[in-house]
Symmetry: C2
Subunit: 233 residues, 2 copies
Amino acid sequence: MIGEHSSKQYDQELEAIRSKVLLMGGMVETQFDEALNCFRVGDAELADKVMADDHAVNNLEVQLDDACSHLIVRRQPAANDLRTVMATIKVITDLERIGDEATKIARTSKSLHKRGVTGFNHYDMIRTMAKATSDQLHDALDTFARLDGKQALQLIAADEVIDHEFRTIMRNMITFMMEDPRTISSALDTLWVAKAIERIGDHAKNIAEYVIYVVEGRDIRHSKLVGSEQVEG
Amino acid sequence: MIGEHSSKQYDQELEAIRSKVLLMGGMVETQFDEALNCFRVGDAELADKVMADDHAVNNLEVQLDDACSHLIVRRQPAANDLRTVMATIKVITDLERIGDEATKIARTSKSLHKRGVTGFNHYDMIRTMAKATSDQLHDALDTFARLDGKQALQLIAADEVIDHEFRTIMRNMITFMMEDPRTISSALDTLWVAKAIERIGDHAKNIAEYVIYVVEGRDIRHSKLVGSEQVEG
């Protein structure tokens, strides 16, 4: 069987997997953007759409795992190709979990707006963090598409900004809650949304780390270069 | 090269990977137990140990990913063996993230006790959830060790209990914060710890799902059987 395939066919299979990963990436980007929109304006229908879309994302994860397994069996990739397949298996797990976080944002937004927001402009609180994370996710997918190790390194450093924003939001929410206990419910919902956004930032960082693993053939996860683990609490 | 290896050597390699995964599992179980202990009594030294231990866990993740890659290249596993390797690659990611969550619990516990707990018995709040999750994690590792599909299915159903507990904790914390704003800081720290525990439960559930994937050769992630996604907020 090994002799049967042409190297062209093989490249096509790898490419098919890669573009399906990017399709999945585009889907979770849309989920995230729409979830943020739900949080901003409280569109319950859009929130339902975000949650429903998660099934399609989950299906893609299963399909892609299968495609990677089949490729390993039939093509027996080595060296760089195997690194790409290994990284892909990890990346799709992160993408699926970004979809989960977007779903949580949509769900929390729905209940927040149902009860009514009390005491502060909830969207203003997370605006900077949401923008930074949205950019981070977009760039991580772009980095994966182009296998750009240099950009990946920049992205890993940029995750600090998101974590810093998260701590700022937390301090602000505590202040609101202390000053007026009626804001507690809204503040907590805002915090859960901020937490979900922070997670999405972490997943985007993971994707960047896998890109470096493919490009440079070394594993920089947990190395000093990557910086300290995210801080919270 | 394919003809060179004996099937016995191959089994030994798979077994070596499997026991290293279980070693890693034992390490994160210890991290989790110690982190809960930090939360209960505020032992700052123990908290530092939990955080330091995370490096060893991270190292094991990198080593295991390497071992899986090498096995794929040298042994070209198919069918059930490949499913085992694929599942292992996913399981070690979950184990590593359980280590991260334990580290977060230790860090939050340290700052909670430094400021002092105000207004309620913080450990009582999470006791039930912590016990259920600790059992869940232990059973998930046991299920992976024995590749017991039936137990894995039970574990997946049990995750509902943890999610339910989380929502109860959230309601209790909101009540405390509403009644006495001085409890807000302590209540938030308790909520972050509960959130980290809930995540650990999710990761244990993921491990159970991968066991079923290996045992039954089918992917039950996202199927109706598994039940709905966790609810929060």
